[in-house]
Subunit: 332 residues, 3 copies
Amino acid sequence: MSGAERTITAGELAARLNGSLRHCPPDRPISEVRPLEEAVPGSLSFLANPKYAAKAKASEAGLILVDPKADVGDRAVLVVENPYWAFAQSIAWLHPEPAPDWSDTPIHPTATIHGRVSLAPGVTIGARSEIGAGSVIHPGVHIGDDCVMGEGCELFPGVVLYRRTRLGKNVRIHANSSLGSDGYGYVLVGGRHEKVPQVGWVEVGDEVEIGACVTIDRGVLGATRIGPGTKVDNQVQIGHNCQIGSHCLLVSQSGVSGSTKLGDFVTLAGKAGLVGHIEIGARSIIGGASVVAKSLPEGSFVTGYPARPHKEWMESQAALNRLPGVIKKLKS
Amino acid sequence: MSGAERTITAGELAARLNGSLRHCPPDRPISEVRPLEEAVPGSLSFLANPKYAAKAKASEAGLILVDPKADVGDRAVLVVENPYWAFAQSIAWLHPEPAPDWSDTPIHPTATIHGRVSLAPGVTIGARSEIGAGSVIHPGVHIGDDCVMGEGCELFPGVVLYRRTRLGKNVRIHANSSLGSDGYGYVLVGGRHEKVPQVGWVEVGDEVEIGACVTIDRGVLGATRIGPGTKVDNQVQIGHNCQIGSHCLLVSQSGVSGSTKLGDFVTLAGKAGLVGHIEIGARSIIGGASVVAKSLPEGSFVTGYPARPHKEWMESQAALNRLPGVIKKLKS
Amino acid sequence: MSGAERTITAGELAARLNGSLRHCPPDRPISEVRPLEEAVPGSLSFLANPKYAAKAKASEAGLILVDPKADVGDRAVLVVENPYWAFAQSIAWLHPEPAPDWSDTPIHPTATIHGRVSLAPGVTIGARSEIGAGSVIHPGVHIGDDCVMGEGCELFPGVVLYRRTRLGKNVRIHANSSLGSDGYGYVLVGGRHEKVPQVGWVEVGDEVEIGACVTIDRGVLGATRIGPGTKVDNQVQIGHNCQIGSHCLLVSQSGVSGSTKLGDFVTLAGKAGLVGHIEIGARSIIGGASVVAKSLPEGSFVTGYPARPHKEWMESQAALNRLPGVIKKLKS
């Protein structure tokens, strides 16, 4: 997860959020925000939807943000009016984004450039970042603070790595792609879309190739992950906290919404779209321009919107072509 | 509108366009091009489609480009063979684009950088542009001439603001997005697509966040507008002269064609598409990957292509799944 | 094609690929890789699909990679287990990519800048590249090695031209578009997607305008071509070896998969998608968000997924809206 960047007591959180503590001493230290499933005793989680109450009861979180109606037994909770909004504010307090640490030189003096790196003019590299041996960095690439790259990477012109991006070995990223932009997360409060701070990062495995004008958002908390050997075509969009398996193929203009998981060897054909928070089983194939709204078992092959088994979709489209004639016949 | 950049007489326009003036003295000064609805006595408009003849009659335009068959009573007109092409040529004459005013330094000496701005290496800022106090400008951002930004903006690496872009306060724009590119406007003349000059600009309200690799075209004339509090996800496309309301949500890979208007609090789900010149009522929701070809009243919820009420679309897709079986039964 | 960059004998190829030569002297020189149709006596081709056996028999290729079951008569062949993978490896050997030839200065000393070029700060131009007279190059444009541009071009901020891109006269390319990225070509070998090297280039005709965040991949071998007078809107994707005709209109967020050919004056409406290896006849119109999976004759007008004649698609969608009612009636 994001690491302990600041510590605050449960009591201070309660005061700031205008909430009330239950089953929790006010001096309990809280040092990070985590999802219920990954929480540890020093972390804060939240429960916004009652259907996840069992997860909250089973969580090891030191403190859970809940609304006044939530029933999570004797767990330590902080009761607030809007747990999701309280969660967003807590991220800002516990995981503050440092200001960019720019130096007078395009390559920050604290950056580490390993051997045989080919560095073009017009590259900027941030504080404490590390460029793997034998990498080729083309003109106009911008690497933020605290990034790590393995050996043999190639970044084409205009590639942007936000703060804390991690690339494995032999990763190739084509022109004007960006890794680590903020995910699309807002909470409606008093008629305004308030931002849920995005403080995670992007992790890319070995031998991944990423096309041009691809966008991969960093996690809200923790990582958005692209597994080793996966190949991402031009203009693909990958949302925050997606977990893309190994050796997947994401063809041009496809898109994966936040927190969706792809097993290994999944293929998204061109312009396919997946909603958020679903799981696509390994070796599945999603047809071109199809929209998947539910999780799919291993080896699925679906097409259409909503996506259905490819054979059924073919049959229904053939039947649709005959429909005007069928209706005419029925009338006469 | 674009402001009076040059003045020409009606007679000179007639000579250049090989047209004939009616009800107009040849020495009438014309100093700008405007749509019929927004025209003033010193401006030139055009009527290409007879269904807008009433608008032409009601317009305050000093001169209207019309074809020989047009009937607009005793309004001052310039009769030409192809009014739209004449309009395009007139934009070029009356609103000439100045050459970029580059200096030897990346930050133009006439630019104004207000207090507490954090400016990265590798940034270029054009002539007469103004950067609001407390803004953060990342490496490789390119700000054109005559741009204005409010306080507290953050532009991530590779963001491009074309000439005359205006940003409100606390606007965040993610990597490699571009505001102010030319809209897609051509007129077919003699077997070639001749360009309709695009001389407008982009205006973005306070508290807007724009994702990575977003493209927003400037207006043909006047502004493309994004209302305050609106959030635009990665890889969204917004065409020339669109008017996007306040507090809208435009999810990843959605697209809005030219001159379309969105009311406040409209949501476009991922990959949704809107044709040009329509109006979407406030608080409407457009389903994912749906295509909207007609204006919609407030509070609509539509899905599919062509988009229909969401419930009807769900029913028709369920029926479609059963169709092959129904046809088989009908046969036997 | 890519030009003779290296020469190797048929016998050495056989040794490296662990294959066996038939009807071919081991000292035959091979100096380039070409498709069957364009092969010459000094070139290597491949036959991966038995349905193209006739093409292989008719080809002038000096040597053809085939699998053990292929029957191409007495043509000179190199029998290997996986001809496509052997082809990919041979490209790497015969058409090695030179390392980028960066100098200490952003404008390489061997680049040629013709008269009246307006060059912004922060531009990089590669070795041996040529900028046509009167061109305007905005900040942060990156032009690779061995590029050629005609007169009067304008490249907006962040445009990237990969190595060997060729632009005609009066070409305009908007912000953050990229020409010449690698096409999406892989071959599955032992559970990994091995890269098919992409060593071709992009050629753009006179008077072409390209929007913002457009991606055009270079050919695997040879050129991806955009014909003169064609206009490409924002966020369009064009795959490797596509041949786009003259005076076409490719509207925003449309995509063309590899090796597909468009005749002249073809229109792709917004978000349209074409699969690879098909031909679209001149003056065809592809409706918005439609997917075309088969070649189309001249003057087609199709819509939907799969795309069908526009009128039929309209009728079937109208019938679909009535389907739930029809099924209800049939039941009662």
